[in-house]
């Protein structure tokens, strides 16, 4: 999809594989079976976490990148 010109934020726990296959915009999640959640958190905390993830994904698609770039929640990419 990136090749076709649609900036796409990939939310996944398997960050190294995402990098190796060349995904340009990667947002790390916390678990393989729940990329956009975390069942270990309280419901309210999980909602907040998911909101941060999606917000970070929106940052990623609005950021110019040249190679696979990781957009961690809570980290500001220069």
């Amino acid at each position: 999809m990136e090749r076709a010109g649609i900036p796409t934020a990939l939310i996944t726990n398997l960050v190294t594989i995402a990098e190796q296959v060349g995904a340009p915009r990667i947002v790390p999640g916390r678990g393989i079976p729940y990329p956009s959640g975390d069942p270990n958190l309280s419901p309210a905390a999980e909602q907040a976490w998911r909101r941060q993830l999606v917000q970070r994904a929106l940052d990623a698609v609005a950021t110019a990148v040249e190679h696979p770039t990781i957009f961690e929640v809570g980290v500001v990419n220069a």
Binding site: R3, P7, R51, V61
Partner: protein
Amino acid sequence: MRIVHYVNQFYAGLGGEDSAGIGPRVIDGTVGPGRLLSQILGDEHQIVATLVCGDDHAASNATVAQELLDMARSADAELLVAGPAFGSGRYGLACARLVAAAHAGGLPALASMHPDNPGISEAGKAPVIASSATAREMRPSVQRLAAAVAKLAAGEALTAADGLVTQPARIGQLVDQRAAARAVQLVLRRLGGDRDATEVPVGGFGAVDPAAPIDKAAGVTVALVTEGAVVPAGNPDRLESARATRWLRYPIDGVGALDSGVWESVAGGFATTAANADPNRLVPLDAARTLEREGAIGRLHDEFLVTVGNGTPVATARRFGVEWAAELRKAGVQAAILTAT
């Protein structure tokens, strides 16, 4: 030779996805496929211990390979064998990381998995022997692995004829023909229709040119897409749970969140318990709606696109990507959020 064998929780008989979170442990002797491997290897080599780790735990924790390697050393391993992992991504990743760590640490090691296994790229310089895609062909896969083990134990180098997948370490050697002559020969073979002939296989997925960024998500239509196999409860359109041949679309116009019991994941490659308790853990619709309401997203596309990534061949996934991009472009979508398990 003293062999230590690595398998995942499933092949160790410790459980399926419910046990995918268990940490590294040692079992004396052989378990599951190790019994077959041991039987084929005969008396000359013994599998002295089996190492086990749950797939989720192994794939999510970077220190697991070292922990397992320490366990192998404690069992006085002379050779470490991992798998066969077939096409299983997390299991393949665990096997690849373990043999890479062993190889780097000077312990001979060998993994077995299908050449399309996404974990294979982490095997580093350790050899990987090709298995079939699924456990239906366990026996031929283990036979080939056993033959490679015997060869490695005898101190011989493995080659493509043994099913070797990863590139062996490059060793300098003298050849009869100079480079110019070899290059011309390769060109002639290429002109003759041989597209694979090379002295330096590059493999890989090809470079991806990143798309230009959007200016601000606040002004555009954003789509949610996933390979997590989220479908309406009951899977009315029969999406495959593995090795997808197609993708589907579901309307979410006016839907605020993906409710449990209304939506479910039919993915076969991981435990769907957490996702089915709250499908927003796979497709973050609730959070995206909130951000749309607050103006951080211009508009959320009125349907999400879904397939299953579990065991789906790269060529198929690439085709889905092309089709999704065309689909989204036609609908005026300018950016996407892809959740992947």
